[in-house]
Subunit: 377 residues, 2 copies
């Protein structure tokens, strides 16, 4: 049973606390992504040391491998991956759309071919709920269709977006019914769709509120649309989400994206950016980003960021990280990932503190000022 | 200044203690290999948690990259890689022989082409000493020629082996002279050569004793000769090494090799086997080896080894390790490496304890009995 309480607000930004299955999660929160049941390069112990207590895992990948037979033998994902804190899983739909070349979407569900062995497979709201029950996710996501912005370089019409959004609504209803039917005692989030159309976003949100969920996510953003349109929709729908439920922006984002979204009422985030960028040698600091492979770091005895207290910054120089990255040493990926995830946790902590102390606006201004030398990626 | 004291002996096996630069190393000891200045997949903190306090780094690799200019800026390797315990470095000679396609060995030294950029380079006893001074290794190895067993499938004649061994002796003398000339306050080890010829091994050892070194290594073994010959030479020369100096068998080996060598008076070991095998999914346990990729482990909820107290065995199942290995997840390499290095440390600890308690022979018997199901590799 998910319990959510707002502590303070600052404009549309909210600082709150989620209580779920004996854990407390302070919001706004960032959830590291552990696609295959491991946050890449990082151990569960390191995540705990950084004070993370919720991660995201991908249902689709885990369904494919190791498979539900393995995970059910462990009574769920927590024991299999040795993570006894909270887990949010997605529905699997997004990966079916993006990873399986041939898929067919019907009212009933999605037919597709396994990217592992070509088997014909089927995913429906009911099946997604069953998968997430076996995974024993603390937060289950409804199955939805992530409405694209363009298909074959053609922007979708309002009618097309409406049809997609309405099917997602029916899938939301079916997800909820199945969730209760199989007696899942965890929590279920819905996903607001409607593309770039405010009226459709409104309609989606209203219906989802009627059905009733433990949390509200915004989907169908960052799907190829111009950034301005994305921000417009977020500014429009973010503040309209039910005040007493957690708001989750799926798949976002850069530090700047997160701050913008928090300003518009978002409480929860997940993104591969800190972990993937770390492995690629792009490191976040309070004073701009660092591309560690650059020759300028070859002799640099400084830590990545003097103001950072992570294991990497406390013990290693840019010179050594530069060297490890160039040599492709695993330790380089590890130290970089520790730094970026630490950075993200501290970013969220500072956001929470600034909201609690009613200085969020000033924080945003200072933050952007300090990071203005950022290398865009 | 290296200080070595024997605590107990059991037959030819010795338990002792090395005191060097404010650290104590209990022997027999295994030194993890950190080729590029990082023990692959492992952080310095994890090594310390496993109680390792000496590692081996490769001079040649570090000379090539990041280069001596970088390392000298840090005042040596310890600060560059953040390892404040002991470091032994090899002379660089072995890699020049094995990694550079074209090299020319002369009395003066070895001419070769850089594997990085094709530059013409030169390594001599004097240059090796200078490199290891810059690295600030606690234990410096003389430059020698690692006499091969065969060249182009032809076994070397006694005369050829003798010439090679005698040049290594002259290089030992030059190494020592240079070591003192550049005022190196650390310790210098020599390397006994002589191939499969007992008389040549004797001659090498006698001359090296005359020159005088802080420790004695055995080189030119495991270079392609039949295992029986290797054991014969080790049994012959191991017990003859100076009783009051540490004895080091370079590049060995499997747990079984190590036990055999300890029985013949060896005190120090280094080998890539535990780390490389870990990344390849071959794991050592007290009850035989495990190839974690095997399908039989897919559903196996047991730890690798119930009798092991490492982080991996205390927290993760064979099933999860099997899955991580198959997915090529970095965490798999990490957890496997932690286990194997922990296993090796515990192996050495048990060897020491059994010598101290005068039950070494019984230990060897029980050990081999328990591991008889080992999959040979």
């Amino acid at each position: 049973m998910l319990n959510f309480k707002i502590l303070t607000t600052s404009g549309n930004a909210r600082s709150g606390i989620i209580k779920l299955n004996n854990f407390f999660v302070k919001t706004p929160i960032f959830m590291p992504v552990g696609t295959y049941g491991s946050v890449k390069a990082i151990s569960p112990l390191e995540l705990i040391e950084m004070k993370y207590n919720i991660i995201l895992n991908n249902s689709f990948h885990l369904w494919m491998r190791p498979g539900l037979d393995v995970i059910s033998k462990f009574g769920g994902l927590h024991k299999f991956i040795n993570w006894n804190r909270l887990i949010l899983t997605d529905s699997g739909g997004f990966q079916v759309f993006s990873l399986s070349k041939r898929n067919k979407i019907t009212e009933k569900g999605i037919y597709f071919f396994s990217p592992i062995n070509g088997d014909k497979l089927f995913l429906s709201p009911e099946i997604s709920m069953k998968i997430q029950k076996i995974l024993n996710s603390d937060i289950v996501m409804q199955l939805d269709e992530c409405t694209p912005y363009k298909i074959y370089n053609r922007i979708l019409s309002e009618n097309e977006v409406e049809n997609s959004m309405k099917m997602s609504l029916r899938w939301a209803q079916r997800s909820k019914e199945e969730f209760y039917k199989i007696n899942n005692k965890n929590s279920l989030f819905c996903i607001v769709q409607g593309g770039m159309f405010k009226n459709l976003r409104d309609e989606s949100l209203e219906k989802l509120k009627e059905i009733g969920f433990d949390g509200f996510a915004i989907g169908g953003l960052s799907v190829g649309e111009p950034k301005k349109k994305m921000i417009k929709i977020l500014q429009y729908i973010g503040p309209k989400l039910p005040i007493d439920k957690p708001h989750y922006l799926m798949g976002a984002g850069t530090p700047e994206d997160i701050i913008m979204a928090v300003s518009n009422g978002i409480d929860m985030f997940d993104c591969i950016i800190p972990t993937r960028n770390a492995r690629n040698g792009l490191l976040f600091t309070n004073f701009g980003n660092i591309k560690i492979k650059n020759a300028r770091y070859k002799f640099d005895k400084n830590p990545l960021d003097y103001s950072c207290n992570c294991y990497t910054c406390k013990n290693f120089s840019r010179s050594y990280l530069h060297y490890l990255h160039r040599k492709g040493e695993i330790l380089g990926s590890r130290l970089n990932t520790i730094h970026n995830l630490y950075y993200y946790f501290q970013l969220m902590r500072k956001i929470r503190l600034s909201i609690n102390n009613n200085i969020f606006e000033k924080f945003v201004k200072d933050f952007c000022e300090n990071r203005k030398y950022e290398n865009k990626f």
